[in-house]
Assembly symmetry: C2
Homo-oligomer: 389 residues x 2
Amino acid sequence: MKDRLLLMIPGPIEFTPEVMRAMGMPTTSHIAPNFIEVFGQVLERLREVFLCPDGQPFVVAGSGTLAMDMAAANLVEPGDRALVVNTGVFGDRFAAILERYGAEVTQVQAPVVGEVPALEEVEATLRTADYKLMTITHVDTSTGVAADVKALAELGRRYGALVVVDGVCAVAGEEMRQQEWGIDIALTASQKAIGVPPGLALLVAGPRAMETFRQRKTPVTNYYADWSNWLPIMEAYEARRVAYFGTPPVNLIWALNVSLGQILGEGMETRFERHRRLSQAMKAAVRAMGLEQVPRRPEIGAHTLTAPYFPEGIDRSVLARIRAAGVIVAGGLHPAIKDRYFRIGHMGAVSPSDILTTVGAIERGLIEAGYDLKPGLGLTAAQAVLAEG
Amino acid sequence: MKDRLLLMIPGPIEFTPEVMRAMGMPTTSHIAPNFIEVFGQVLERLREVFLCPDGQPFVVAGSGTLAMDMAAANLVEPGDRALVVNTGVFGDRFAAILERYGAEVTQVQAPVVGEVPALEEVEATLRTADYKLMTITHVDTSTGVAADVKALAELGRRYGALVVVDGVCAVAGEEMRQQEWGIDIALTASQKAIGVPPGLALLVAGPRAMETFRQRKTPVTNYYADWSNWLPIMEAYEARRVAYFGTPPVNLIWALNVSLGQILGEGMETRFERHRRLSQAMKAAVRAMGLEQVPRRPEIGAHTLTAPYFPEGIDRSVLARIRAAGVIVAGGLHPAIKDRYFRIGHMGAVSPSDILTTVGAIERGLIEAGYDLKPGLGLTAAQAVLAEG
């Protein structure tokens, strides 16, 4: 149904055949012994993938926005101060969500699109008031900018703020060590580097976040997102017991267990390194083709996607040509530059061959659109990085 | 992975091979032209299945509880009065959800488990105060009791209340004519008679409900459930345009389109009649085997499930024997009678053969557990009903 096009957008990504077989297998009862075991394993494995041995995982039917909503709805009480480290569209969204639950939100903005706020500015803001929590978008899918989560989390903790990381375009691709780095909540969606079709909100909450939740003075004003409903369910399945709140999305959870098994089979360090390497190859190709990137400096470029500007004289109609050449990439998302750039996702089960296929299709698309490019320039640059490994 | 056991619980149900193939097919981009067409069709077809030509459908990743939550979060403002017509566990849940959003909830309870509240009592309550909305559980999955939705909806409208029908165990199985019966919101979950694996909350809101939402004076205190976020998305996909809020659960929506096509291919009238007939067959078998049912009168028994009490001398351990005989049925859910009854789901693509297979397994399970039953008694009674058609 995709006519064998390669899907290289920042989610949904290409999923492994084993994951897709789990999606299509006959649905079991949510209280069947084999499903209880699968759900229990999923919860255990999420702790390993998030590198958070003391965390409490939540797996709930919904989109990544539900995971953000869960973090805000369960932690925030009216009047709480929240600091949003904003690197793009998803920082704006977290601010809107936090405000919905009564938070007084202060945003530290990147000076320009494609930059990150300076650590000094974040620290200066943390000094001005008593922030209950701070949110960081690990990778903003709209800009391809990666925040320095480790340094920001350290700052947040030093000033007593709970640290919430929106890892939607990052978890299981970008290096993220939730417990070691002092992150109180990390969250993602299934269809990104976790490698499962869309439909699951995933979140791991550390002990400080759970304690803050337990100490709430007001009820959570979002019934579906309320951890009071879900915590007993997560605890039961992990103890290989049944409990009912809502019917879990059986096939998606089965598929998630397959994918988490594949992720842990590769190993988190190897996986981080593979994402780094493949990202470097893609970015080397993009540079060799003469394209600028939205992230203004290599150090702040995500490893899960690349966001190149169209070169002079080329517009978004080139995306159809790239598609005709066999690869689907995504258009722009950030309102300020929407029509000037495109986005290439490379996360999850992505391989060196996928990178070359994609670079090849971009080269041919650009040439067909009239861009003056020597065929193979991007491929050679990518291959040079791939061959190093 | 189910060892070819037949899954006859009140959801997840047995899904058709075509639906499962859609689940397992390669995931497309959520902005791919073929997916836009599929999502657009889904929205149009939901109107036909809900029999609500002027309704606004919402399709969101989540469980059936999210659909209930959406109805409450978007309609209720603090201090609003709500009337819950309670026929079991899911009436309790709707009351809890409504209260979360500040409603003053009055419940009209069934006099005993297995009964429905009298229409006169509901009307007397509606007379006492100005209710903004009234909720009805069409089929309470915990008791197998079906409410008289048509009569209750008429009462609700007469007294000016918005009528909200929790159709989770009913829509596309029980007769429900949303627009003709004056139902303002009807909702369900994918894994019931709609015939798609769990993970989708489905809701159709009529014009009065949408108008009430637009006239809100206070913001919706649940970000993820807020129609302000989802309405533009539903409108865009139906107009075959792209809009982004959260990544839609692509495979589930593709599977939903396949199932809705199968449902409309059968036709709603034929489908209602098939559910009625198969339910009568199952209930005839249950009676012939000497088992009492939770619904106290045949007229209030659901057509989507049957809830028999265990006969004298038999306890829930018989469920394992029924399973060993090839069919999975569900245990009790209502706290007051939890260990005294079981539940048989028969909705969606269920066939006469499934009914016979299930009755056969129950007969053998009961006999093995020591129940004095002449083999074939239940089967003969079921077959008599099936042969009438």
